[in-house]
Symmetry: C2
Subunit: 154 residues, 2 copies
């Protein structure tokens, strides 16, 4: 069981933007892609969608870039995951037109639905702000120029 | 977010075996495959694994077949799902050797882990017996010879 890469990348983009220090308030997709070692093309789709959802703002022009469109405390993780996951069809019978012969009388669907709600309820308790309470450490990982690793001679 | 087909099929095989009326105590994989409209080859792998896990017993010979090796109340759904899911790596950073630059200081992993535990805790409250409390209806869906649908003339 896993979340989609789409959700994973969406969360990472938001973490990146929320961790950016004041002097790097506008960030470039290529820098996000480079930091995480993931495709710029994937991130373009993700950031476009995050923009449509109202979480990310794009400032155009030579000195443009991306920034959060709302405060981190206004981005609820449960709501975000509901918006970025394609669906929550835990098993075949969650589809509207299930082909499973048991669908009319199956108790499994209800049990899995209850478990899914418990999963999402936990995420509902958190906002992006809770995920960047250690903003300085995150910024240090994301925005510090890396020096070559120095190894002591053996 | 979804469970694997492997878990879906495992649950369906167990529901089938637990719903079987006394006179069909030993069932054939081909009948399970036919009832659900899924590949017999897939089900052979699933039933082999369920056998190794101690849930299913295979009686060999001409009148042989499959049956539950334990009582339905002894099959916990949470435990089963932990055994049939390949992993619970909700996002990339759940992997032991995560490539995500944030891994050392990321709070997201803990939040998703907490949500996953809430999901599994709900499943832990149920056994296979709870899923067949309407055994007669399930048996009627699975084991009744279907008559051709009769349509009233318009």
């Amino acid at each position: 069981m896993k979340l989609t890469l789409y959700t994973d990348y969406s969360l990472r983009v938001l973490l990146y933007l929320a961790s950016a220090p004041e002097e790097k308030r506008l960030v470039q997709i290529k820098d996000i892609a480079q930091s995480y070692g993931i495709s710029k093309n994937h991130l373009m789709k993700v950031t476009f969608h995050l923009g449509k959802l109202g979480y990310v703002e794009t400032i155009r022009g030579r000195n443009g870039g991306l920034k959060l469109a709302v405060l981190p405390e206004e981005i609820n993780i449960g709501k975000l995951v509901r918006q970025t996951e394609e669906d929550f069809h835990m098993v075949e019978c969650f589809h509207e037109h299930s082909s499973c012969i048991l669908s009319p009388d199956c108790k499994l669907k209800g049990v899995l639905y209850q478990a899914l709600q418990a999963f999402l309820s936990v995420l509902d308790q958190y906002t992006l702000k809770d995920l960047i309470i250690n903003k300085e450490q995150l910024a240090s990982l994301l925005f510090t120029e890396k020096e070559p690793v120095r190894r002591d001679p053996i």
